[in-house]
């Protein structure tokens, strides 16, 4: 901190600290803290409350009528009853306008078995997407980094980036057009005579989770390729040739030389792909058109904008954060990389 003040003076340093504090507190920590808080309470609404208030009011009317009729010594007793009833009505009404919050883990523990199975399923799907994306991307990253000539590599890079400038929704939507019932692939199959539109014997690709996988890998391919490319690129070519000269097979060279060197990149690629897949709302929403099998992210969306239960929604959202955190910690442990190696 002293070194900052020495260079930039107290005024500028103060501005830097203020801005960072604003970002740290108001954009990162407090929102997460409030989301956690929201997930830890629920409002226990008494369904009978409205009826109880109505009944109390009708009782009050009767008592007031009694009070008018009453004479002499019974009057104070009735008046006392009226006061007591008014106090009761006031408490009931305050419960209705500002219901008491009940703190606890109920939003987490009351997850229905259906929602829980979707939660687990989404994690497994995201893991599958991560593994598949690695298998698909590794050869490409290696080729660009080590095999292609510089001009060729630049061209391949450009080819990777162009699909990325198109919006994620449109990228996914293109796959919808390809895999749809009367989409490109089914039309091709029909032309081959394998399926028939008239008999509705088309292949229902969109009902398989695989179609979401294809679109997810397509949508986030760059996040796997770039980190791996960056680390493989720093590998000395002599090491590859040495491995070759010593008689290492292609597989062995990769397993013992390239992959150990590329570990940080692989860890980052896997973390990003897993996080993006498990948290993607757009891709499953478009590919399944909200019909076949929700993903957990879609459930979260529904809690906020359809059933309007923000407490449960916050609990689901926080569960997702925990899953990502655990995944990151596991990857850091398995690949033996530190937080500084991540997100480079």
């Amino acid at each position: 901190m002293n070194s900052l003040i020495r260079s930039y003076g107290k005024g500028l340093t103060g501005i830097f600290i203020t801005l960072t504090a604003f970002w740290l507190l108001l954009l990162i920590i407090l929102p997460q803290a409030f989301m956690l808080d929201q997930s830890l309470w629920s409002i226990d609404k008494d369904d009978q409350l409205g009826m109880k208030i109505d009944r109390a009011y009708s009782d009050l009317g009767l008592l007031e009528y009694d009070a008018q009729q009453a004479t002499g010594d019974t009057k104070p007793a009735v008046q006392a009853k009226i006061e007591a009833l008014k106090v009761e009505i006031a408490t009931l009404e305050s419960q209705e306008t500002d219901p008491p919050r009940e703190y606890g883990l109920q939003n987490y523990s009351r997850m229905s078995s259906l929602h829980f199975s979707i939660f687990v399923k989404s994690i497994f799907y995201a893991l599958a997407v991560t593994v598949l994306a690695f298998v698909v991307c590794y050869p490409v990253a290696f080729t660009i980094a080590k095999l292609a000539t510089p001009q060729r590599a630049a061209l391949l890079m450009l080819g990777l980036i162009i699909p990325y400038a198109i919006n994620e929704l449109l990228r996914v939507y293109a796959w919808l057009m390809i895999l749809d019932y009367q989409g490109v692939i089914n039309s091709f199959l029909a032309w081959m005579g394998v399926v028939s539109f008239a008999d509705k014997t088309w292949v229902p690709f969109l009902e398989y989770p695989g179609s979401v996988f294809v679109a997810l890998i397509y949508a986030y391919v760059l996040f796997m390729i770039f980190p791996i490319y960056n680390t493989v690129d720093t590998l000395d070519k002599n090491q590859l040739e040495a491995a070759q000269d010593l008689g290492g097979s292609v597989f062995l060279t990769h397993w013992r030389v390239v992959i150990p060197h590329a570990k940080p990149g692989i860890a980052v690629g896997c973390i990003m792909t897993f996080m993006l897949s498990v948290g993607s709302y757009s891709v499953p929403q478009i590919m399944t058109r909200g019909k076949s099998g929700d993903w957990f992210s879609q459930l979260i969306y529904r809690q906020f904008f359809e059933t309007q239960n923000w407490n449960v929604g916050a609990a689901y959202a926080f569960s997702l954060v925990l899953v990502c955190l655990i995944f990151i910690l596991i990857m850091m442990k398995v690949f033996k990389v530190g937080i500084r190696d991540i997100s480079k």
């Binding site: 901190m1 900052l4 020495r6 260079s7 930039y8 005024g11 500028l12 830097f16 600290i17 801005l19 960072t20 970002w23 740290l24 108001l26 954009l27 990162i28 929102p31 997460q32 409030f34 989301m35 490409v140 080590k146 630049a154 450009l158 080819g159 162009i162 400038a165 198109i166 919006n167 994620e168 929704l169 449109l170 939507y173 293109a174 057009m177 390809i178 009367q182 490109v184 391919v221 590859l240 040739e241 292609v250 973390i271 996080m275 993006l276 948290g279 709302y281 757009s282 058109r289 909200g290 979260i300 906020f304 959202a317 997702l320 954060v321 990502c324 937080i339 500084r340 997100s343 480079k344």
Partner: protein
Amino acid sequence: MSAHSNGPGLSGLILKIYIGIFFVYLFAPLLVMSLAAFNSYEYPSVTQWRGWTLHWFGELSEDDRILQGIVNSVIVAIGVVGLSLPLGLSGALILTRLQSRYTNLLYAVLVSPLLIPGIILGISTLIFWGRVSVSGGLFLTVLAQSSFIASYSMLLFMARLQRQDRVLEEAALDLGASSFFMFRRITLPFLAPTLATGAVIGFLQSIENYNTTIFAVGGDWTLVTEIGSRFRFGLSPVINVIGVLFVVLTVIAATLYTIQKEREKQRRAALG
């Protein structure tokens, strides 16, 4: 190509075929999407071909919600760039200078928005600002997007600052420059390329963002959330036209960038 790649001819050939298939995988969807923009059929399709048309381009130019969405997206993106560059720069300066055992923790928290799913950033922003009665809208979208776009720009600034030669700054101070003057004349010019890159990346990230925006945008809309809602209520090839425009803009920008880089390289080579 090195001996390694083509040495065992078969594996080299397999790899080449694989790379070919991979790029077909990347580009086939773009081709399908672009073609459907020129099809007369009123539902986006390439298999039900009803003849070429430019009708949907005209339709787009009269679509008020889409046009307003573009304006909103640009407003949000400008706000995000304006907020996330100063935040990212401040964070980077503090992290590169701070010698404390909490530096790593601070670093971890400041990059955490990149490692958290986008929907979570949108949700937490919505909940937190809702407590202080700021409801969803373009302003909240700027805040939600800035939380992670600032992390991107911070990483860019940190990479640049690590290559900074502090001698220049110290010399300026020794010669009696005020720290503010020094920052403006030495530090900022040194960071200028990163400021430019950060602004471009932040702008594109903001325009493209859907998962965070959908939660924070409330009753307003951006181009992308408008496209998202069309998936539910009536698709038309107007969506494809937007895709075509994106493709064309990208190809132009990428070509200009490559030409620019080539020229720089030649100029540098000429200077020798």
